[in-house]
Amino acid sequence: MRQGRHTYRFLFLGVCLCCISFASGQDEKNRVRVSLGYTKVMPATSALTITAKYRAEEGIVATPGLDFEVFRVLEADSMVLEGSARTNSEGEAVFKLKNLNSIQPDSSGIYTYRVVSLEHPDFSEAEKDISFREALLDIGISTADSIPQLTATLTDAYSGEALEELPLRVQVQRLFRPLRIGEEFYMTDSDGSVTVPVEPGIPGLDGLITLEVVLAENDDYGSVKALVETPVGEPIKNLSTFNKRTMWSPPSKTPLFLLIVPNLLILGIWGAIVFLVINLFKIYKSKN
């Protein structure tokens, strides 16, 4: 008898637990993992890259369509709303920052931003901070022994000090991915500079090539990139028909013969049709 009473209690407890777990399962949202990156393209383009992912049954996957608000964190821990961004199908959002030259960093020259995800039916709210210093990367082209050389100098924008012993990549801008020049990276010297000879024979339209110097994903400064277009490449002829009138061009670049001949035919035939319609009207009017 006593044993039977225990059985009922256990059954009641089991049902309650099932109900609780079912109810909590209904409200359970996926936890979003947010990562932040800072990128600067000289002279004044700065952006935050927000990446949102979550753990699904098939592993870690992108979180598309998630809205974020971006705040600038001030020294007194107050925040200023800078704007909002939404992740794309890859779970990424790029938020362009205001020109940092017009914004005062904190007393140690650090900028801090916070991104906060907005309410979403499937994902729990998440936030992430990023702090970085502003770096300046100046590049120029010079010639030594008739070999063109690229010189890049990296300095801290707040203190003006040269940044030494930091790795810089030198590469040529290409359509799909950059073409690296020389070694994998060059360490800046005590002046924060690197000097890299530009190899001859790099093809470019009319000899123009765009050289890039990149400080990649630095803990303090984020990613910093500077570009310079210079006529030190091997001139090649532009074989692209992009600006020409071809059979595969958009409507604005239809070949002239195809514009003239069919349109003349169309005009001729529709002219005759208009004449025939007017003729009907004249028949209507000439009843007597």
């Binding site: 035939i269 049709i273 319609v277 003729n279 009907l280 009843k287």
Partner: protein, 437 residues
């Protein structure tokens, strides 16, 4: 005057009898079913069809090419025979014009059905490139539709004026025919303008009609695929279109003759002449078929060989040989003998030719798409094959029913045989004038 009145009474539009109403109800039901299927297609998308990445054109495009082919008959019977002075064809000109109008309207609608998203039609006009044969097709179809309507309407002016007077006891009908007659009295100026317009239309429609079918052929020929890669496709399509159109005219003229008892107007002579014409057209089309298949079969490049094998001995062989033998060779053999050119055999051959012409378009479109130059691999098994789904068939039958409905309604409300023209050719008007004097 009595002769003329009898002539008008015989040719004036008549109300449907019970069979006519039953026919209309049947067409209405088919169209209703197709509209439901089309609604399903609009809601769920083209995924409800059998079309996939490879067979991206299916029964809709076959049907479109068929309609374009049928529409060519307007230029054949009305323009070519008129310009060559073949007056025997006068009683069947109106039928061919009606068929042409119905077919070209449905050709345009079929393309919209095939698009899947009809509300995007205007993209063609906004973003269309003049380099694309699809734009040429849009232009030439709309042009041909307008010319076909004018070619149907102009010769009707004197007939509308006659019907305006004839239906005095039916004021509503009389009023409508009067409005459509555009004050036609047959005065010298009107006649002069009328003749000039008819001559102009007869000349104008021929290049446009050839254009519409050549451009439709180019939709295929400008695409690099086995079975379509031919410089001969334009004339090949035109020859096939004449066959289909002539078959359609024969079929409709037989039914109209039976239903309206027009044996005095659509005589055995017309069936004999149309039978002869069909033999000639079938022979020309057969010649083009030999050309289309023999040359690639002789050279036999791998991709063409796979395609031709599927037609000659493969999955499509029964249909292919049925179309070639049943739809072309048998009509030639039957119609070449005088006994075969009696109305009933000609009518049966006409139906066979039309059905064969429809399946011929299916064979032009589908097997080629399933044999691209790059082999079909790494895709679901179902993508290797194509056969229309039930909604596709329903919609297709709906378009055919709509074409028949347009023809039926035009036959109901228009004089199916030109009243004025036949009266002039038979000398009835001359006799009445002499009597009056």
């Amino acid at each position: 005057m009595e002769t003329l009145n009898r002539h008008i009474a015989e040719l004036a539009p008549r109300k449907f009898n019970k069979y006519g109403i039953a026919w209309l109800a049947f067409l209405g039901l088919v169209i209703l079913a197709s509209l439901i299927a089309y609604w399903k297609q609009l809601s769920e998308g083209l995924v409800i069809t059998g079309m996939r990445d490879y067979a991206l054109w299916g029964v809709y495009i076959s049907n479109f090419v068929f309609f374009v082919a049928i529409s060519l008959v307007g230029s054949l019977i009305t323009a070519i025979l008129r310009l060559t002075g073949a007056h025997w064809s006068t009683p069947i000109t109106r039928i061919s014009e009606i068929i042409a109008v119905a077919a070209i309207i449905m050709a345009g609608l079929t393309i919209i059905i095939d698009m899947g998203r009809p509300e995007r039609l205007y993209y063609l006009f906004i973003y269309g490139r003049l380099q694309s044969p699809i734009i040429w097709d849009v232009i030439v179809i709309s042009t041909y539709l307008v010319i076909s309507l004018l070619l149907l309407y102009y010769p009707l002016l004197p007939d509308f004026a006659i019907l305006n007077k004839y239906y005095t006891k039916q004021p509503k009908a009389s009023k409508w025919y009067g409005r459509l007659a555009l004050n036609w009295t047959g005065n010298p100026e009107q006649k002069k303008r009328f003749k000039k317009a008819i001559r102009m239309l007869s000349v104008l429609i021929i290049p446009v009609a050839f254009g519409i079918h050549t451009v439709t052929a180019w939709l295929f020929a400008t695409t690099f695929r086995p079975g379509w890669d031919s410089t001969n496709f334009g004339p090949y399509f035109i020859a096939g279109a004449f066959v289909a159109g002539a078959g359609a005219v024969i079929t409709i003229m037989y039914i109209v003759r039976r239903v309206y008892r027009l044996e005095n107007y659509i005589t055995d002579l017309h069936f004999d002449r149309m039978g002869r014409l069909l033999v000639l057209l079938c022979l020309v089309y057969l010649y083009f078929n030999v050309n289309e298949y023999l040359v690639p079969a002789y050279k036999n490049p791998v991709d063409e060989a796979v395609h031709l094998e599927s037609l000659f001995t493969g999955a499509y062989a029964p249909l292919f040989w049925l179309v070639i033998i049943g739809g072309l060779i048998v009509p030639i053999l039957v119609l070449i003998v005088p006994r075969g050119r009696k109305p009933l055999p000609v009518f049966i051959m006409g139906i066979i030719v039309v059905v064969g012409a429809w399946w011929k378009r299916y064979l032009i479109v589908t097997p080629t798409l399933l044999h691209p130059f790059l082999p079909v691999q790494g895709v679901p098994e179902s993508w290797h094959h194509y056969f229309p789904t039930a909604p596709e068939w329903t919609i297709t039958f709906g378009t055919l029913a709509m074409a028949l409905l347009i023809i039926t309604l035009l036959v109901r409300y228009l004089p199916v045989i030109p009243i004025q023209e036949t009266a002039e050719e038979r000398g009835i008007i001359q006799i009445e004038k002499t009597k009056a004097k």
